[in-house]
């Protein structure tokens, strides 16, 4: 079963969010990294840009497939995790820690209301498992 820390918030598209002041750190969940497997390239294409909720802010390439990374909240993308450039597999090894992907300065605190708690995200995962 995928690791879903209690202290984080989640999206239906398998991003996690940690709020510190008015900046959220985000990445993809343990479930998502396991599904993608073998992550070989991570690119945040929107650093410095203002983005809407659910807008694509970057891409994650696994060996077999590419997927978009979506903004879990509206705001300004203030940072991408530069260390992933040389070691993208960190997202596989430590998705909630060193494998964080981007930071967004949130437009307003109300943005956070739509996020899922761990229990609600666990339900999303349950429905995503194909066997």
């Amino acid at each position: 079963m995928a690791n879903i820390p209690e202290d984080l918030k989640y999206t239906r598209t398998h991003e996690w969010v940690r709020l510190e002041g008015d900046v959220v750190t985000l990445g993809i969940t343990d479930f998502a990294q396991h599904e993608l497997s073998d992550i070989v390239y991570v690119e945040v294409t929107t650093v410095g840009k203002t983005v809407k909720n659910e807008e694509a802010i970057g891409t994650i390439e696994a060996v077999k497939a590419v997927s978009d990374l979506y903004a879990p909240v509206a705001g300004t993308v203030v940072e991408g995790n530069e260390s992933l450039r040389d070691s993208p597999a960190t997202v596989n090894q430590d998705p909630y820690g060193a494998g964080w992907i981007a930071k967004i300065k949130v437009a307003s605190q109300s943005e956070l209301a739509g996020l899922l708690d761990a229990a609600a995200y666990a339900e999303v995962v349950k429905k995503s498992v194909h066997h």
Binding site: S37, V40, Y41, V63, K64, V66
Partner: protein, 364 residues
């Protein structure tokens, strides 16, 4: 509901991540595509390829009929020899690619799993003379053991002297005490074997192969690494790189098209014309010049104009860069031509390169 191959319980026991492929529940990966890919390139890995279609052909007119159905010249085969070949439609489009074995008591055709039914129907439709065809797919297990340590792994459990079985040759032998057929064939660019034997002995053969290869850290390999391994060698995948809308000449398979064999074959006239006039497009190898990764259906560009489409693309675990196969207009098909691939709206630089991408395979 997917079918199970005879190794299904072994995949589950090894922690395979199962997906539907060609109507079978098969492992896409075990440890991960990259470590599995490296395992095959460095020592030895095992692939369940029982989803492939296996068709036996017998009869007085079998050779003549096969030569009419396939593009390569089956008359050149000695007993226990195999050849790569293609089935074409009248218009030169590809029904399937396959391996044809000439055995002492029959011919064996090994076709793509996803095309097994289609091919069987196509062949049946064209049966003539004293030819008998039998699809033996479910009764026969097929296992591929691939990598530079495939021979020492198999020699210990095989009754045949494997040093005497050359590339694309086969022999009847016992493997793990089970009577079957072993051939030096594969889809990885490495030395290796495929073994065919009665499905009821699958578990025993699997277990003995793994016990024998333990010192080489033998591992099961999923469909994901099978794809990256074949792509690094520019081996075509039906449904991606070749299909009914492509012909073997433009796909670079002219070396298995015997245009001059007596009596010709289905599609021969069209392919002769394509060959004389030269095809309008060619399947080429593309290496990315930056860190982007090409994917199927991405556009290939020259001076911002579309010159073709990617048919297969991946990150190459051996080269650690993006590689692709794709069709481009002939004038762009030369090695070292600089082109671009439209990677989600960005023109990423790429270079046409000579096949294969990976040049250090152990294949003999």
């Amino acid at each position: 509901m997917s079918n199970y191959t005879p190794f299904h319980d072994r995949h589950l026991a090894a922690g395979g991540r199962m997906v539907d492929f060609a109507g079978y529940d098969l492992p896409v990966q075990f440890k991960g595509i990259i470590p599995e890919h490296r395992r095959v390139r460095t020592t030895v890995g095992v692939f369940d390829v029982s989803h492939m279609g296996r068709i036996e052909v017998r009869g007085r007119d079998a050779l003549g009929w096969l030569n009419r159905m396939t593009t390569n010249d089956a008359a050149k085969l000695d007993v226990n020899q195999a050849q790569y070949s293609v089935l074409c439609y009248e218009d030169g489009g590809i029904v399937d690619d396959l391996v044809v074995y000439r055995l002492a008591d029959c011919w064996l055709l090994v076709v793509n799993g996803a095309n097994n039914e289609k091919d069987t129907a196509w062949l049946k439709e064209h049966l003539s003379g004293d030819v008998e065809m039998k699809n033996v797919t479910p009764a026969v297990a097929q296992l591929a053991i691939q990598g530079p340590k495939a021979e020492p792994t198999m020699q210990r459990i095989c009754s045949a002297d494997l040093a005497r079985i050359g590339f694309y040759w086969a022999g009847r032998a016992t493997v793990a005490g089970v009577d079957g057929l072993i051939s030096r064939t594969g889809y990885t660019g490495e030395d290796g074997f495929e073994v065919y034997f009665p499905a009821e002995h699958a578990g025993k053969v699997w277990d003995d192969v793994f016990a024998s290869g333990r010192e080489f850290e033998i591992e099961p390999i999923g469909l994901g690494a099978r794809d990256t391994l074949r792509l690094e060698m520019k081996m075509a995948l039906y449904g991606n790189d070749i299909d009914k809308t492509t012909n073997p000449i433009e796909a670079g398979l002219g070396w298995v098209v015997a245009l001059d064999k007596p009596g010709g074959f289905i599609g021969c006239e069209v392919l002769k014309k394509v060959n004389e006039e030269k095809p309008a497009r060619r399947l080429v190898c593309l290496e990315m010049e930056d860190r982007s990764i090409p994917r199927p259906h991405y556009r290939i560009l020259a001076q911002e104009t579309e010159i073709g489409l990617v048919t297969s693309g991946t990150m190459s675990p051996s080269l650690n860069k993006g590689i692709a196969l794709g069709y481009v207009q002939r004038k762009y098909a030369k090695a070292d031509t600089l082109v671009a691939v439209d990677v989600r709206g960005r023109a990423a630089p790429a270079r046409i390169v000579k096949p294969p991408f990976y040049k250090h395979g152990s294949r003999k």
